[in-house]
C-alpha cells in the first residue's frame, strides 16, 4: 500500500525553515548595535555635560554634619548624585560636589551623604571665577584698580568696572602671547639660524680662521637681534606688570577672603542668575573655548586646540602619504603582476600586516624613520644644528609610521575596486587602441575612484584614532608650537605635536588631578570622534560626487 502523501498541515521543520538562524543573526546585529549605541551615547552625554554650567548650591547641613564639618553650610556645584554601597550600611545616596577653591581646601571635589543635607538653595550672588590655575566658587568683595579707590561689590559702578578691567586684561594677555610666541619666537629662530651659519663657516674653514668679514657681519646681526629681543622682553615685562596692577577680592563660603590679580582671571560667571537661555549660551561659549583655547593646568583645564589641530594635520599628511603608495602597489598587484605563488604570498603578507600590533609599527618607525632616515637627513642637511632636527620624533615621522600601518587597508580596498571595474570597459579601451597603462590611467582608475576613496576613509579612521605608536615617534603631552603656523616655511614637519588620542590617555591616566580631568576625558573623546566623523564625511562627500560623475553601479 502506498504511503499517504504528507498532509498540507505538516509544517516545515523549524530548523529547515531557518527561522532560528534569522533570529540569531538579528540578535548578533542587535548586540553589536547596542554596544555601539551605549558607548557613543555615554561619550556624547558625558562629553556634552562637561560644558553645561552647573548652578552653585548652598547646602545647609544637618546638625550632626555641622559638627563634623565645623561649618553650617557648604557652597558647591552638585555634579551628580549616586548610590554608594558601604559594607553593613546598605544602599546610601551621596552627592558628588565640585567645591572648587583647591587653593584653600587642597582638593576641588568631595562627596557628601545625601542624608546630611538639610536644605539646598541657590543664592544669586554666588560667582564662579575661572582662574588660570584654580576654579573659585564664592562671592565678590571688591575691585582695586591702580590710581583709584577700591570699588565695593555692592557699589553701582562695580560691574561695569569689573567687565572693563577683565576685558583689558584679556586683550593684554593676547598681546603678551603674540609678543612672546610670534615676535620673540621669530627673533629667537633668526638668532639660532645665525648661530648655525657661524658654526658652518667655522666648519668649512677647517683649521684656517674663517672669513673675518662674514663672521663680523653675523655677529653684528646677532647683536642687533639680541637688542631687539631685549626691547621686546622689556615690553613684555611692562605688560605683565600692568596685568598685575588691578586686583579682585573675593570671599569663599567659610568667610576667608583672597585677592587675585586681574591677569589671573579667565572669566567670571554668575550661574545662579542665568536662565535657560543664558546657560545654553554659556554652554556653547564653554564648548568654543574648549576647541579653540590652549590647555592650562597640566591639561586638566582650558581647551585642547593644539591637540585637535595636531590630529587634523597628522591625518591629512597620513592620507597624502598612504593613498598614492597604496594605490600604486594595488595597481601593480592587480593589473600587472602575474597571479601565482609570489603574488599570493605578497597578498597574504599585506593582509597579515594589518594584524601586527600598532606599537610594533611605532618601534619600527622610531628605528627606521626617526633614527635611520631622520638621522641621515640631519647629517646631510643640518650638520651644524645644535639638536636633532629630523632625527627626533616629529609629525612627519608619526604620519609616515601610521601610513605604513594603514597601507594594507588602502591596498585591499583599491585592489577590490580595481577588480570590480568590468572587463567590458577595459576591452573597450584596449579596442580603441589604448595601451594597458592608458587604459588603467584613463578608464580603470576613474571608475575605481570611489572604491579607492573608501580605502582612504578606512585608513584615516584607523590612523586618526591610533595612540600607541605615536607616543614614541613624536607626540608630546604639551607642544609649545603648532605644526603649521605663520613662520616660514609654515609647515614644520619636524615639530613634535599634540594628538587627541594621546591627550585622552594623558588626561585619564597621567593627570595630577584626575577628578578635574574626568569631564575633559569625555569631552576630548567626543571631539576626537567628531573629528574622525567629520573628516570621513568630507571624504564620503567627495566620493559621492565622483560616483555621480562616473555613476557605474559597479559599487
Amino acid at each position: 500500500m502506498p504511503s499517504p502523501p504528507p498532509s498540507p498541515q505538516n509544517r516545515t521543520p523549524l530548523l529547515a525553515s531557518g527561522e532560528p538562524f534569522v533570529w540569531l543573526t538579528g540578535m548578533g546585529l542587535v548586540v553589536g548595535l547596542a554596544m555601539v549605541v551605549v558607548l557613543l551615547g555615554l561619550i556624547v552625554y558625558k562629553g556634552l555635560e562637561a560644558f553645561w554650567p552647573h548652578r552653585v548650591a548652598r547646602i545647609e547641613l544637618t546638625t550632626s554634619a555641622q559638627e563634623r564639618e565645623g561649618a553650617p553650610f557648604l557652597v558647591a556645584m552638585v555634579i551628580e548624585s549616586r548610590h554608594k554601597k558601604a559594607p553593613g550600611e546598605g544602599d546610601r545616596e551621596e552627592l558628588y560636589l565640585q567645591t572648587g577653591n583647591k587653593d584653600f581646601f587642597g582638593s576641588g571635589f568631595r562627596y557628601l551623604d545625601a542624608d546630611e543635607v538639610a536644605s539646598i538653595s541657590y543664592p544669586p550672588d554666588e560667582v564662579v571665577i575661572e582662574q588660570i590655575e584654580y576654579l573659585t566658587i564664592g562671592t565678590l568683595v571688591s575691585l582695586q584698580r591702580p590710581g583709584a579707590a577700591p570699588i565695593e561689590a555692592e557699589a553701582p559702578g562695580f560691574l561695569p568696572a569689573l567687565k572693563e578691567t577683565l576685558a583689558a586684561a584679556r586683550a593684554r594677555s593676547a598681546e603678551i602671547e603674540h609678543l612672546e610666541k610670534v615676535r620673540i619666537g621669530d627673533n629667537a629662530a633668526r638668532i639660532q639660524a645665525l648661530r648655525i651659519e657661524r658654526k658652518r663657516l667655522e666648519r668649512v674653514a677647517g683649521d684656517a680662521p674663517p672669513d673675518p668679514a662674514a663672521i663680523a657681519s653675523i655677529d653684528e646681526q646677532t647683536a642687533e637681534l639680541q637688542s631687539a629681543f631685549e626691547g621686546m622682553a622689556a615690553e613684555a615685562r611692562a605688560l605683565r606688570a600692568e596685568q598685575d596692577a588691578s586686583t579682585l577680592t573675593y570671599r569663599i563660603a567659610d568667610g576667608r577672603e583672597k585677592s587675585i590679580v586681574a591677569g589671573q582671571v579667565v572669566h567670571v560667571t554668575w550661574p545662579n542668575q542665568m536662565g535657560f537661555a543664558g546657560r545654553l549660551g554659556q554652554f556653547f561659549k564653554n564648548m568654543w573655548a574648549f576647541v579653540s583655547e590652549n590647555p592650562r593646568e597640566a591639561n586638566t583645564a582650558g581647551g585642547i586646540f593644539p591637540a585637535l589641530f595636531g590630529t587634523f594635520v597628522m591625518t591629512v599628511i597620513l592620507s597624502i602619504a598612504v593613498t598614492p603608495f597604496g594605490v600604486i602597489a594595488a595597481i601593480y598587484l592587480r593589473e600587472y603582476a602575474k597571479e601565482g605563488l609570489v603574488v599570493r604570498t605578497v597578498r597574504i603578507a599585506i593582509n597579515n600586516l594589518a594584524g601586527v600590533p600598532s606599537i610594533v609599527f611605532g618601534v619600527f618607525g622610531l628605528g627606521f624613520f626617526v633614527y635611520g632616515l631622520g638621522g641621515s637627513i640631519d647629517r646631510l642637511f643640518y650638520p651644524d644644528s645644535e639638536g636633532p632636527v629630523f632625527g627626533t620624533g616629529g609629525i612627519l615621522w608619526a604620519s609616515l609610521t601610521l601610513a605604513l600601518m594603514t597601507v594594507p587597508v588602502v591596498i585591499v580596498a583599491t585592489e577590490e575596486s580595481l577588480a570590480a571595474v568590468s572587463r567590458g570597459v577595459r576591452e573597450g579601451s584596449l579596442a580603441c587602441g589604448a595601451s594597458k597603462w592608458q587604459t588603467i590611467q584613463r578608464v580603470v582608475l576613474p571608475a575605481a575612484g570611489p572604491g579607492i576613496i573608501t580605502g582612504m576613509i578606512l585608513a584615516m579612521a584607523r590612523g586618526a584614532g591610533e595612540v600607541a605608536p605615536l607616543m614614541i615617534v613624536g607626540v608630546v603631552k604639551w607642544a609649545e608650537t603648532l605644526p603649521v603656523d605663520t613662520t616660514a616655511p609654515f609647515l614644520h614637519l619636524d615639530r613634535k605635536f599634540m594628538h587627541l588620542g594621546f591627550h585622552i590617555f594623558d588626561l585619564a591616566f597621567q593627570s595630577p588631578d584626575s577628578e578635574a580631568a574626568r569631564p575633559m576625558v569625555f569631552a576630548s573623546t567626543l571631539l576626537l570622534i567628531t573629528l574622525v566623523v567629520t573628516m570621513n564625511l568630507g571624504a564620503i562627500f567627495i566620493r559621492e560626487r565622483l560616483r555621480r560623475k562616473y555613476a557605474t553601479g559597479a559599487f
Binding site: G424, E427, G428, L430, C432, G433, P446, A551
Partner: protein
C-alpha cells in the same frame, strides 16, 4: 610567433594536404537527412566539388572546404583577408583554418550557433584574444594588405585602425564628449576644434547627435542602454577605422533600441566596412550585404545575404537558416 606553434602549423598543413584527397572521395550520403525545400533553384553543392556536411566531414576526418560564392572570391580586392586562420585555447581548437575576405564598405554578418567561433574570429581581427594567455594561432589575417598576426605588428597601432562595438555597451566613466573623442585623444589630438568637429560628425553618424547635443558634457553612464550602445558606435567610428567590428551589438537591447541600432548599421554601409557577429538571423538578413555561416569552428558558407538565406548551397546552412538546428 612562439616556437611551440611551428610544429602545430606543420601538422595543420599536413592535414590540409591530406584532406584534399579525402575531400574528393565519394560522399556516401549526400541527402541522407531528406530533401529540404521543394522549390530549390539549384541543387546543393555536390560531393564532387568537395562538400558534405560539417559533421560528416568531421566524422570522416576530412578537412572541411567552405563554400564561397564567386562574388566573394578571395582574390578580389578586400579590406580584410583571413587566410587559413586557426586558433587554439590551450589544447582546444576553436577555429579551424578559416579563409574569408571582407570587401570594402560592405556589412558582413557572421552567423552560426553559439560556440561556433564567430566571436573568437571577430576578436582575433583586433587581437583582443591576445589578452588570454593560453591562446595560440596559426595562419594570418591581413588588414588592407598589412599583416595582423606578425611579430612586427604593433598591436596598439593596429587596434587604432580598427573600431569595435561590444555585446554589452561599455561607455567609459567620462562625459559623452570624452567618450567619443577617446580614440582621437589616444592618437594625441589636442586641438579643441578638431575634437568638437569629430565628436559631432561621429554622433551624427551614430544617429545620436539630436538626443545628446545639449548634454555633451554629462556622464555617458546617464544615457539609456540603446543610447549607450549608439555612443559606443560613435566612439568606434570617430577615428574612421578601416574596419568596424560588432560583437552582437543588439543582444542586450530592447526591440526599439535594436531597431534603431540596426537602422544605424544599415546606414553605415557605403562609408564603413562592418563585420558583425549576430545570432539573430533576421538581423543578419536585415543589415548585411554578405553573410558567413560558421559551424563548429569552421566557415561553412559565405556569400551574398540574399543567397545564403534564400538559396544556400550547403545543407548545413539551409538547416540552420530554416531553424532546424542551432
Amino acid at each position: 610567433m612562439s616556437p611551440t606553434e611551428t610544429p602545430r602549423k606543420a601538422v595543420l598543413h599536413a592535414s590540409a594536404s591530406s584532406s584534399a584527397g579525402d575531400g574528393n572521395g565519394p560522399d556516401t550520403k549526400p541527402i541522407a537527412r531528406g530533401s529540404l525545400l521543394a522549390d530549390r533553384e539549384t541543387p546543393f553543392v555536390s560531393t564532387e566539388s568537395g562538400q558534405g556536411s560539417v559533421i560528416d566531414s568531421i566524422a570522416e576526418h576530412r578537412r572541411f572546404q567552405a563554400v564561397v560564392h564567386p562574388e566573394l572570391a578571395h582574390d578580389l580586392p578586400h579590406v580584410l583577408r583571413v587566410e587559413d586562420f586557426s586558433l587554439y585555447y590551450g589544447a582546444a581548437q576553436a577555429l579551424h583554418g578559416v579563409t574569408m575576405a571582407v570587401p570594402q564598405h560592405k556589412v558582413v554578418a557572421l552567423i552560426g550557433p553559439s560556440g561556433c567561433g564567430k566571436s573568437t574570429l571577430l576578436r582575433s581581427v583586433n587581437r583582443l584574444n591576445d589578452l588570454i594567455d593560453s591562446v595560440r594561432t596559426t595562419g594570418n589575417m591581413l588588414l588592407n594588405d598589412r599583416p595582423i598576426f606578425d611579430t612586427k605588428t604593433d598591436v596598439i597601432s593596429l587596434r587604432k585602425r580598427i573600431g569595435m562595438v561590444f555585446q554589452k555597451s561599455n561607455p567609459f566613466p567620462k562625459s559623452i564628449f570624452e567618450n567619443v573623442v577617446y580614440g582621437l585623444r589616444l592618437m594625441g589630438e589636442k586641438r579643441r576644434g578638431v575634437l568638437q568637429e569629430v565628436c559631432e560628425r561621429s554622433l551624427r553618424d551614430a544617429a545620436l547627435w539630436g538626443e545628446v547635443k545639449d548634454r555633451l558634457h554629462d556622464s555617458a553612464l546617464a544615457l539609456s542602454g540603446g543610447q549607450q550602445q549608439r555612443l559606443c558606435i560613435a566612439r568606434a567610428v570617430a577615428t574612421r577605422p578601416e574596419i568596424l567590428l560588432m560583437d552582437e551589438p543588439c543582444s542586450a537591447l530592447d526591440p526599439i533600441a535594436t531597431a534603431k541600432v540596426e537602422e544605424l548599421i544599415h546606414s553605415l554601409r557605403g562609408s564603413y566596412t562592418v563585420l558583425i557577429v549576430t545570432h539573430n538571423m533576421q538581423q543578419a538578413a536585415r543589415v548585411s550585404d554578405h553573410t558567413a555561416f560558421m559551424y563548429l569552428g569552421r566557415l561553412v558558407e559565405y556569400g551574398p545575404t540574399e543567397a545564403i538565406f534564400r538559396n544556400p548551397r550547403c545543407r548545413d546552412t539551409q538547416d540552420y537558416v530554416t531553424g532546424r538546428f542551432g
